[in-house]
Amino acid sequence: MGRREPVRRKEGASVSRTRLRDQYNAWIQHHRLSAADSLLRVLEHPGSSMLTWLVIGIALALPVCLNVALDNVSQVSASWDSPAQISLFLQDEVAVDRARQLEVELGARRDVSETRFISREQALDEFRTLSGFADVLASLEENPLPDLILVTPVATLDGPAVSALRTQLQGNSDVAEAVLDMEWLERLNSLMDLGRRLVLAVGGMLVIGVLLILGNTIRLAIESRRDEIVIVKLVGGSNSFVRRPFLYTGLWYGVGGGVLAALVVSAALWFMEEPIGELAMLYESAFHLSGLGVMGALNLVILGGLLGLAGAWLAVSRHLVHIEPR
């Protein structure tokens, strides 16, 4: 083809356009050929290919499982209505009228969206029905619970502002203690942040591991086809021509690994579903374990494919250049 280039060029633009189209067609054709040939080679040794797929699948599934778990936890914590709420426990000597008045005063503040007064009697009733300690409570001589005002700040207030509000309310002489209910949620959130970082770190390490495994697999494939590479280069095969089948080999390993990873994650979720359902029932929660979904599985396969390509590229760029006809 190229050999005719100088002669054909003289014939004008239309010829060079068909030449371009021919070359494009040939390029597509070789891609198709390489993809099919590489797939056949991978399937030719189902045992060792399956091992590679499993290694990649499990390595990808591990961080994904952790991530799915974190997603579920954050879904749970989001369902606990989380605008910060400040509980004002009032001094024992504050009368109910004064407490009601305080509730109205606080409700009028610009940075407060809602207040609710819970008298000590109300609290005791609630506690009695919810806790099941009715008998014990009945035997108490006096109500140990204080009056309570629940203050909900406006939604636009950020964390520090809510904290400042709490301190301010704490300064009120009628208030025994102002407690910010956010604290445990903040702790949970920061634990989850830590978890996400952990997933990222573990995932990063496993991704590097997958790349190295794939690189090594492709390196072996290159070694086993060394003679062929030499011959192809001798009869005019370019580096990209030689590279192509190995990149496809990497792609197939990666895609297979991604599919297996999706299966492993689904299996793990299925395995966990029943105990988690029981647990949720015990907590009278409608919580339902959410899985990968079709998009998640697809992303996993795509990620596997990309990793496969990258690993193959790593091996190919390192080893293919050194195989030259001698």
Binding site: M1, G2, R3, A26, H30, V230, V232, V235, G236, R326
Partner: protein, 221 residues
């Protein structure tokens, strides 16, 4: 077609494979290169194929100074040259047809064109009925003819052969040489390295003789 101007090649270990070789090979010529092993025959061919670069001097092929061909351009350069090796260099994991088709696939021919040309080349070397066979089932002479079919399938202007009859008996060797002559008659420049002096001196073509890297005779037609 091929010109060597005071070409020397010294390998890294200090061995001089070629010393100040100047030779010109015309278009449509068939030329033998002979000499003992290590005389520099293969080196000469390797320089034409750009498997090596000369230490000094200049090689010109089809009007192109090879020093100007960068490594990116080497594949394109090699597509214009057909090569035949002593050990055939065939791929035993695929059919005769696929072996011969390789240069065309690389050059990006349409698959119908590939089929047409491969069958024409196999017909030329008398192996048309063996296209589905695995080359490992063929005899040495047949394998060499597959190698030749692969070398000519892309219709190159230049055909190089490195000891193409090295492992063959005299009758088969003569057959192979006849094939090369036929290609030469249709306008291919043919360069054959061979130490089989008895065979090549019968054929009445120019013989370039190398001794320890230096040209002894045959520098001009």
């Amino acid at each position: 077609m091929i010109t060597f101007e005071r070409v020397s090649k010294r390998y890294e270990e200090g061995h001089d494979a070629l010393r100040e070789v100047s030779v010109h090979i015309n278009r449509d010529e068939l030329v033998f290169i002979t000499g003992h092993s290590g005389a520099g025959k293969s080196t000469l061919l390797r320089l034409i194929m750009l498997m090596d670069r000369p230490s000094r001097g200049q090689v010109t092929v089809d009007g192109q100074n090879l020093a100007s061909v960068r490594s990116r351009g080497i594949p394109q350069h090699r597509r214009n040259i057909g090569v035949v090796f002593q050990n055939h260099q065939l791929l035993f994991d695929r059919s005769v047809f696929d072996n011969v088709a390789l240069p065309l696939i690389i050059a990006g021919y349409d698959h119908r064109e590939v089929g047409r040309r491969v069958r024409a080349a196999l017909d030329k070397v008398g192996l048309l009925d063996r296209e589905r066979a695995n080359p490992i089932t063929l005899s040495g002479g047949e394998q060499q003819r597959v190698g030749i079919a692969r070398a000519v399938v892309g219709k190159p202007k230049i055909l190089l052969a490195d000891e193409p009859t090295g492992n063959l008996d005299p009758a088969l060797s003569a057959e192979i040489m006849d094939l090369f002559e036929e290609f030469n008659q249709v306008g291919v420049t043919v360069l054959i390295a061979s130490h089989d002096l008895v065979l090549i001196s019968r054929m009445h073509h120019r013989i370039i003789t190398l001794r320890q890297g230096s040209l002894v005779s045959g520098s001009t037609p």
